[in-house]
């Protein structure tokens, strides 16, 4: 816009740079969580996620093969192998810088050195993890010798966290059940208010009756009433009519709380529909019900979609309504947000679990967001800019 008058701005590069920085800042925290959810617990605990793309220096405790593997070479008993081979599976290539045989001095030896462990024998460790353990007498015991190494390991990503959190039926802290519970809450709580609101919005937009202006004002007022006020009175009400805590109560609460925005958005949209179409239909003898079903509803699709996305995001991401109206003491109906808050309390340091669980719950709204962004923006604009 600033080159209108022919003065191409020298600020252009600064604009690009500022936007890159801004976007970077806004993405950085989320990317951190995403990257962390693909790392092992060890990796998360020992290095920042921003180092995940680069080889990491790690302190590892490894073991030589068990004495059962030993062979006799002349007068020597020898065990040979590679430290990084565990149960026959080689780890990704790592390079050892220093190593030791005692936890008190893990950097006692350079690669290629030989450590004398007295009656336990002598061990030589090479850079790639190959070792040779030899002794004058027979090795005894069941387990191998411990070796402490400082090694550079290449970046490594794993899907195991997701496997644990989503598909492990024995994991009581898993997200699978909570995921389906959230879905169960969300779908009816999104669809039902749309229908109820659409009829009301049509009446408020296209029917003439005394008190209409007052009702519209009331809807605008109810838009901002904090739902905190509704918690106790409605919980009492739900208990009195016998539905207590459960899905039905949560669906009803979400419907009630979503209605003002739904009516407001839909009415604003419907008012803007062309008057001719509706009047022509009336002249042709269509009833209000027919006009609504056959003309208004299809034409209002963009507004319906906008509200549906809002309501979906809101119910999916909700914690308070679920805490108060849904989750009873058995915890059978727990939703993902509640599950994550619990994990924050009990597994505060286990970032591999937290990050993965959080991402499971974030993934669906993000998908909806990127696919339906057009409608979301349109709804926001209809709701606040005239």
């Amino acid at each position: 816009m600033d080159n209108i008058a022919g003065t191409k701005s020298s600020l252009t590069w600064a604009v690009h740079l500022s936007v890159i920085i801004l976007v970077g800042l806004w993405l950085f925290p989320t990317v951190g969580l995403l990257v962390s959810s693909f790392r092992t617990a060890d990796q998360i605990a020992t290095s920042g996620w921003w180092r995940a793309m680069f080889p990491a220096e790690q302190n590892l405790v490894l073991r030589t093969a068990a004495p059962a593997e030993q062979v006799q070479e002349g007068g020597l008993y020898v065990i040979e192998g590679n430290l990084f081979v565990e149960d026959g599976n080689p780890r990704p290539e790592a390079t050892i810088s220093v190593w030791g045989t005692s936890s008190r001095d893990v950097a006692a030896y350079e690669v290629g050195d030989t450590a004398d462990m007295g009656e336990d024998g002598r061990i030589t460790v090479a850079e790639n993890g190959d070792y040779r353990l030899e002794n004058d007498t027979e090795f005894e015991g069941r387990r191998g010798e411990r070796v402490f190494v400082t090694a550079k390991t290449p970046p490594e990503f794993t899907l195991r966290n997701y496997q644990n959190v989503l598909f492990d039926p024995s994991n009581r802290e898993g997200m699978a059940k909570a995921f389906f519970n959230t879905l169960t809450v969300t779908i009816p709580a999104t669809i039902i208010p749309i229908l109820v609101a659409a009829f009301a919005a049509y009446a408020l937009a296209w029917m003439d009756f005394p008190g209409r202006a007052l009702l519209i004002a009331a809807v605008v007022a109810l838009l901002v009433v904090p739902l905190q006020l509704a918690l106790i009175p409605l919980l009492k009400f739900h208990n009195e009519i016998g539905i207590g805590k459960g899905y039905l109560g949560a669906w009803m609460a979400h419907t009630g709380f979503g209605l003002p925005l739904a009516i407001y958005l839909l009415r604003n949209y419907m008012v803007g529909l062309p008057r001719d179409i509706i009047e022509n239909a009336k002249v042709d003898g269509a009833t209000d019900f027919q006009i609504f079903i056959k003309i208004i509803l299809p034409l209002s699709f963009p507004a319906l979609a906008s509200f549906a996305i809002f309501q979906f995001l809101w119910t999916w991401n909700d914690l308070l309504v679920a805490l108060v109206f849904l989750i009873d003491s058995t915890g059978e109906t727990t939703v993902m947000t509640k599950q994550i808050v619990e994990l924050l309390g009990t597994r505060g340091g286990n970032w591999e679990i937290l990050a993965t669980s959080a991402f499971v719950s974030i993934a669906v709204p993000l998908l909806v967001f990127f696919v339906m962004q057009k409608y979301l923006v349109r709804g926001l604009l209809a709701g606040s800019v005239k």
């Binding site: 039902i192 009301a200 519209i216 901002v224 006020l229 994550i340 924050l344």
Partner: protein, 333 residues
């Protein structure tokens, strides 16, 4: 019955029931009650048309009344009664008890801080992002990425930012970005960020600013694009530099939109609960009203004081409520 199946059934019953209600109530009105036939045909049509709006409105009005209007009155009543005395009227006793609790004043002070800081910074960053992204080719992508936190739940955001604020003992590598930066800038030891009073509240606000900036940006960007080009061209011809164009020409023209954005975010701030609940639960002087209320209602089981604090939130929202209604009525005329 499996809940998912129950949910599906609810959708079918809910949607079917709604449609059936609207269809049959209209049919009843037109065919049975006031048929547009016979000698009273004209009068009947008029009467049917007087009743029909209320048929369309009834379910919504009942739901709105029961789930939003009635609770306001009922909460007011509960705030004036004492549950342990069998619901006896106690006047303002709950309010004075609340006023004697330091935790309440802490929550109120924090809420005011939130009210000052979050809308201001969200609007500012939003305006900045809108102005910058409107001028570049890849602006749409940049916008969509800044807008993205909108879709993330407050709880999800709490986890994301807790990782940023994470603290490890000094002899280990820091895994939280904030401590890593702090140490690399010469800090002497890792800080437990969320336990440092005042600054921890700011850090919690940062989470909400991060979420709300996208909203502000989307609305303000539309408003900026709605500014008539002639006003800007005239200013440039008159020799205004880009900053003068922005602050003296553009800002005044979108002032009303800025107010809308500001008030909308203010309402979000007043209701903020999840972020505090999940990140600190009001410890270390980070309490806010909504979480204080939840504490009173469901942990202390004190409905009187809980309702009283809910009424405080309502009181703080009321000016915006009145302002919105006033504007809506002005527009309709």
């Amino acid at each position: 019955m499996h809940p998912a199946f129950q949910g599906l059934l609810t959708v079918v019953i809910g949607v079917g029931g709604c449609l059936a209600y609207y269809y049959f109530s209209n049919a009843f009105l037109d065919k049975v009650l006031f048929p547009p036939r016979g000698k009273n045909a004209g009068r009947n049509i008029n009467r049917a048309n007087m009743i029909r709006p209320w048929l369309f409105l009834a379910p919504a009005l009942i739901a709105l009344g029961l789930y939003l209007a009635y609770p306001v009155v009922e909460t007011l009543r509960l705030s004036l009664t004492d549950r342990s005395q069998g619901g006896a009227f106690v006047g303002l006793a709950n309010y004075s008890q609340m006023a004697s609790e330091p935790k309440f004043w802490e929550a109120l002070t924090n809420n005011f801080l939130w009210l000052l800081i979050v809308p201001a910074f969200s609007t500012m960053f939003g305006l900045l992002a809108a102005q910058l992204t409107d001028r570049i080719g890849w602006g749409a992508i940049a916008k969509s990425l800044i807008f993205m936190p909108m879709a993330i739940s407050f709880v999800g955001a709490a986890v994301i930012w807790k990782l940023v604020y994470d603290t490890r003992p000094i002899d280990q590598d820091q895994i939280g970005v904030m401590n890593a930066i702090y140490l690399s800038l010469g800090g002497d030891e890792p800080q437990q960020w969320l336990t440092i009073p005042f600054w921890n509240s700011i850090l919690l606000m940062l989470v909400l600013i991060w979420i709300q900036t996208g909203f502000a940006m989307v609305i303000l960007s539309a408003a900026l694009r709605g500014i008539p080009e002639e006003t800007i061209e005239a200013a440039i011809v008159d020799g205004a530099n880009p900053f003068q164009v922005f602050f003296k020409i553009k800002i005044p023209q979108i002032a009303s939109t800025i107010v809308v954005v500001w008030t909308t975010i203010t309402i979000v701030v007043l209701k903020v609960f999840d972020i505090v609940f999940a990140m600190t639960n009001g410890q270390w002087e980070t309490q806010v009203l909504a979480n204080y209320m939840y504490d009173k209602l469901f942990r202390a089981n004190d409905w009187g004081v809980g309702s009283a604090s809910a009424m405080v939130i309502m009181l703080l929202v009321s000016p915006i409520l009145v302002w919105n209604v006033y504007n809506a009525r002005k527009e309709m005329r």
